[in-house]
Structure formats: C-alpha cells, structure tokens
Amino acid sequence: MKIAVCVKRVPDTESRIRIGAGGAGIDEAGVKFILNPYDEYAVEEALQRREKAGAGEVIVVALGPDAAQETIRVALAMGADRGVLLKADAIPPDGLAVAKALAAELRDGGYDLVLFGKLAVDDYNHQVGVMVAELLGLPCISSVAKLAIEGGAVTAEREIEGGIEVSACALPAVLTCDKSLNTPRYPALKGIMAAKKKPIEVKPAQLGAVRLQVAALTPPAERKEGRIVGEGVAAVPELVRLLRTEAKVL
C-alpha cells in the first residue's frame, strides 16, 4: 500500500505565543515549532498500516518554508520512508490555495490512501484534507476515530455529537484523523539517526490563488478573577442563585 501523509509545521501549543508587529500574525522569535499533533495520528496510522501489510511505502508531504524539513524529519524519525517539501515562503491562510498545491503533488502519485490530521492546531480550519479529496475526486471521511481496511474497502468510525457514525468507502481515499485513532509512537533514537539518511525532495509549491488573508489576531480576553461566595452548606443557596441568575448555567 502506498500511503501519503500530509503534515504541517505549527507552533508548539506549550509555547507562549505573542502577536507580531503587523497584528495579523504571531511573533515567531523563541517559538518552538512542532509536527501538528493531529498529523501525528495520521503518521502513526500510516506506519501501522504499512507494518501490518508487511510492505508498502509511507511518503510525508509538507508545504511550507525550508524549516518544514525539520517537521518532515520528525515523521521520518517515527518511521516514514521519504519526504516531499512543497516549498513556499510562508503557509498561506487560504486552505484552498494549500489544497491545490497538495493535490497537484498527489494527483499522479498512485496513492492508495492519503491521510491528514483532522485540523491544524494553529488555524483550526478543518479544511485542507477534505478540499484535497474534492480536488482529486476521491471519497473522503473526516475525523476518523477508528479505522478498518479490508481489501479495498474502508470502514471508518467518526465520533459525532451523541453517538458514533460508521462510514464506508473504497480505496483510494482521503481520510482525516482524530485523536482516538491510535497512540503515536515516540521517534526512537535510532529512528532519529536513520531519518538523516532518508531522502526529502524539495520542489516549489504550485499554490492556488490566495483569496483570503488574516486581518487581525487578538489574544483571548483575560479571565476574570473567581469569586468565593461562602463556605460549607450555608453558601449553597447563594451559589445556586448566582449560577442561575448571573452565570446563567443552570
């Protein structure tokens, strides 16, 4: 099975994020960048599929600046076979522009399966995976929480509000991965050393027209300080009253 995993370089969610000088982007100084956590599930799933089949190839595709090679190498250290960097000075905020570049790369690749994380933690757009499927004319199941592939038939479970939805399609297909799908492995030390020797092909990204820009970024409002309404049983009526009339959660 030939599997493509599309990954994104994103700021570490543990980093302290400051808004940059233009007010529409972040200040990257001192920020650590990581492999998008949802993409880790996609990489892990691809590796498990390859291991189970005992054959196949896992190709990691990223769009972004040169520094995204480091992100690709994390996936190579986990065990992927080779990487492709679609080079762009920056990752445009327009998901369709990115999807067009990825689709152009994937179209003639002969992939049985194309995996994405269900979203990137920097923009929360949930867009690129499903757009790529549409551009390639392939079936797409998003937010896959459980997956079975028998022969060429895909059965996937999605966690939806109040229940589980089971979807089915045929390969080739595009799937976007949710976090209950698997437990991503750590890049082992031997894997990190081996990743240095694995090839990464770098080519210019054929981005689509960028028709969307981020106008402004603002930090979330500071949380108001909590209030202690009293202690023990005596405080309960007042607490209930406030939850009802002030917080309006009851």
Partner: protein, 395 residues
C-alpha cells in the same frame, strides 16, 4: 502542579544544538513527562525501581546510546547522549542511574575492553534490555580508594575463581550480568586489576538489596558476594588491565552524571518558579518577594553555567580531547548545583516542599547520593587540586 516542562534556556543554548540533538532531547523529555513522572512517586515511596519502564527505555534506544549501531545501539554523539541523561534525571536520578550503569558501566567496558565475540554476544542484548547489567568495583572498605580492593580472581585450569564482596551496586539484584573487577595478582598490586563478565546465576554469586535508603529510593542498590565463583576463561575482558580500566568507565558515567545534574536542577527550578507564581501570601504571589526572586535568580544562573559547561565538555568528548579532570570539574560543579537548587526549591515551596507530590525533596534526597557516588565531591576537588598543582593530596 507545575505546567508541562518545556526546558530552561536563558542563553538560547538550543541554538547550539543540532536538529538531531534536539530531536533526541525532545523524545526523552516527552517520554519522561508521559511515562516516567506518572509512576515515579509510587516507586520512590515503595522503594523499588520502576521495572515496567525497561522495555520502553530499550525500545527508544536509551541504553548505550553513544555506542555504534552495529551492536544494536543508536550511535549518537556524546552531546545527544548527555541530553538523554539530562532529561532522565529531570525525571529521577534513580532512573538516570539505571541507564548510566547499563550504558556507561556495563556496555562501555564490554565495548572498550571486550573481545569482538563478547561485544557481539552481550551488547545487542544489553541495548534491547533483554539483559540487565551491574558494575562491581566499590567494596565495603574501599570506596574512594578502589585500588585497595581485596576481591581476587585466581586462574585455574578451567577458567577463573572469584572471591570477594562488592557494595553500593546499582542494579545489583536486578542484573543478569555483572562486570566484576578483581585483582589477578598480589593484593597490593592495583596493576593486576582485571574485569570479568559474570552471569549473576553463577554458583556462589549472591546479591542482597541494601535496605533503609533515604535517597535514590527508586533504584536498586545491592551488595554482591562472590564465594568461589567459577567462570570460564572467556569471562575475562581481555583488553582490561590495571585500575585505569574501571576508572575509564567511571569517566564515561561521570560525564553523563554532569549532564544529569542539569536535569535535576532544571526540574527543581521549573517547579519552584511555577509554585512561586501561583502561591499567594500576604496578598501577592511568592514570586513578588525579593527573597524568592533571589532564589530563582541563583538557580537560573547556576543552571545556565552548568548547561554551557556540559555542552562544551560534550563537544570536547566528541573531538576526542576531553580529559578525566575536565569531567571531574563538571561532575563536581553540576551535582553541587543540583543539590543547591533542590534544597532552595524545597525551601521556596514551604511546607508543601516536603510532600512527594512535589519533586523538590525527592530530587534533594537523590542528589545527596549523586554527590557522593562516582567520585565524591571531595575526591573531585582533590583530583582538580592535583591537576592544578601537580601534587596529589590523597596519596
């Protein structure tokens, strides 16, 4: 509780590390956060090594990581190896000690002094955790003066006959193989010291857990007794000869300990800083009081110095120019720093600082052992003194 650890890097030292070095560090850091820290308190209180972690540590490549790939090891450079030790000790010194012993004191001597046959037979199994090793040098009456050892190895027609006792042996009761150092000649001749690979199920070999430890509680520390232990001729490490052989192993282990000191110090600083920001007293956070700021500033200064010190030491080791005296300076400095940071963090945390749910006192107790083992702080002072003046004060 403190937020997730993201490192202490006041001087942009990350920029001096290669991508692989950072990747190795991040793997170990994440593993410590997710797998080690959730189980360490229970292991520490119950006084045992968390053995369930051994297969994961082996699979990720933590054992003998700076030895070559052809023996099943990761083939890392010495800076990456040091970063592993730093991060493990950020979790717990007992777990770092386990990895240090397996890698630097068991795998290293087999690699450095063993025959090709011994390397091939033991190293892959030690790397994969299939075999656990220990290192028997120190004796009940010979700690800082290992050359005085009275354990003997006598050549027989079939092999070697070992007699003696070893003390303070990390992994002693857990080990499948012991690297035992013994005198093959006269008891007053340290040049006759040779190393032997002794399977711990050999008749006459016993290991007894040392009870009552108030430090390194998540580590197995044992006494070994060798009573007419017969091993074949090929148990001898052929290239070992004289006291300098085991001492060169200690240089390897001490190198890792110097990095470990940074890890323990960072753990304490991280915890103290988070606590100081969040704990309110007299109407403002502890972090707003000058006395606590002085504590934090001292810790950060010490950590930054220690980080630069071990990084340069690692670069020297990779160039092949590192001296044992340079390792002494780093071990002495960084472990002392970790002792101070742990104690100051414990104090900053007030009464909470004595609880197991905070790590400061566990590190504080651990570091007292680390201060004393692998060459006491005082011995390293004298090693430096001798190097500076040309006069040995301990002979």
């Amino acid at each position: 509780m403190a937020p997730r650890f993201t490192g202490v890097d006041f001087y942009g030292i990350d920029g001096l590390l290669s991508e692989e070095e950072r990747a190795v560090r991040d793997t170990v850091r994440d593993w410590v956060e997710e797998k080690l820290l959730p189980v360490i308190n229970e292991a520490y209180l119950e006084g045992h090594f968390p053995k369930q972690l051994i297969p994961q540590m082996a699979e990720l490549g933590f054992f003998g990581a700076n030895l070559p790939e052809e023996y099943g090891c990761a083939g890392l450079n010495n800076v990456a190896y040091g970063l592993i030790m730093q991060e493990l000790e950020r979790g717990d010194s007992g777990v770092r000690s386990f990895a240090s012993v397996q890698g630097a004191l068991v795998m290293y001597p087999i690699y450095a002094f063993g025959s090709e046959e011994q390397r091939k037979r033991y190293l892959p199994k030690l790397a994969s955790g299939e075999l656990i090793g220990c290192f028997g040098l120190t004796e009940p009456d010979f700690g800082s003066n290992p050359g005085g050892m009275i354990t003997t190895a006598r050549e027989t027609s079939a092999g070697w006959l070992l007699n003696g006792a070893k003390m303070w042996i990390t992994n002693g009761s857990t080990a499948d193989v012991a690297i035992v150092w013994a005198k093959t000649g006269a008891v007053d001749d340290p040049r006759s010291i040779r190393g032997f690979i002794v399977p711990t199920d050999t008749k006459g070999f016993t290991a007894k857990d040392q009870k009552g430890k108030l430090s390194l509680r998540a580590s197995d520390t044992s006494e070994l007794v060798l009573q007419n232990v017969e091993v074949p001729k090929d148990a001898l490490l052929p290239k070992s000869g004289g006291l300098k052989s085991p001492l060169s192993c200690l240089t390897q282990a001490r190198y890792g300990i110097a990095w470990g000191g940074v890890g323990a110090a960072m753990a304490c600083y991280h915890e103290a800083l988070a606590y100081a920001k969040q704990r309110v007293m007299f109407g403002k956070p502890l972090a707003g009081f000058q006395l606590q700021q002085a504590r934090l500033a001292e810790m950060l200064s010490g950590i930054t110095q220690a980080q630069l010190l071990v990084l340069q030491l690692g670069r020297l080791k990779d160039q092949g120019t590192m001296t044992p005296q340079q390792v002494s300076l780093a071990k002495r400095n960084n472990v002392d720093l970790a002792c101070e940071c742990a104690r100051e963090a414990r104090r900053l945390l007030g009464a909470n600082g004595i609880l197991i749910e905070y790590s400061a006192m566990r590190h504080m107790a651990n570091m007292e052992s680390v201060y004393t083992y692998e060459g006491t702080h005082d011995m390293h002072t004298l090693i430096l003194g001798e190097d500076i003046t040309g006069i040995a004060a301990f002979e």
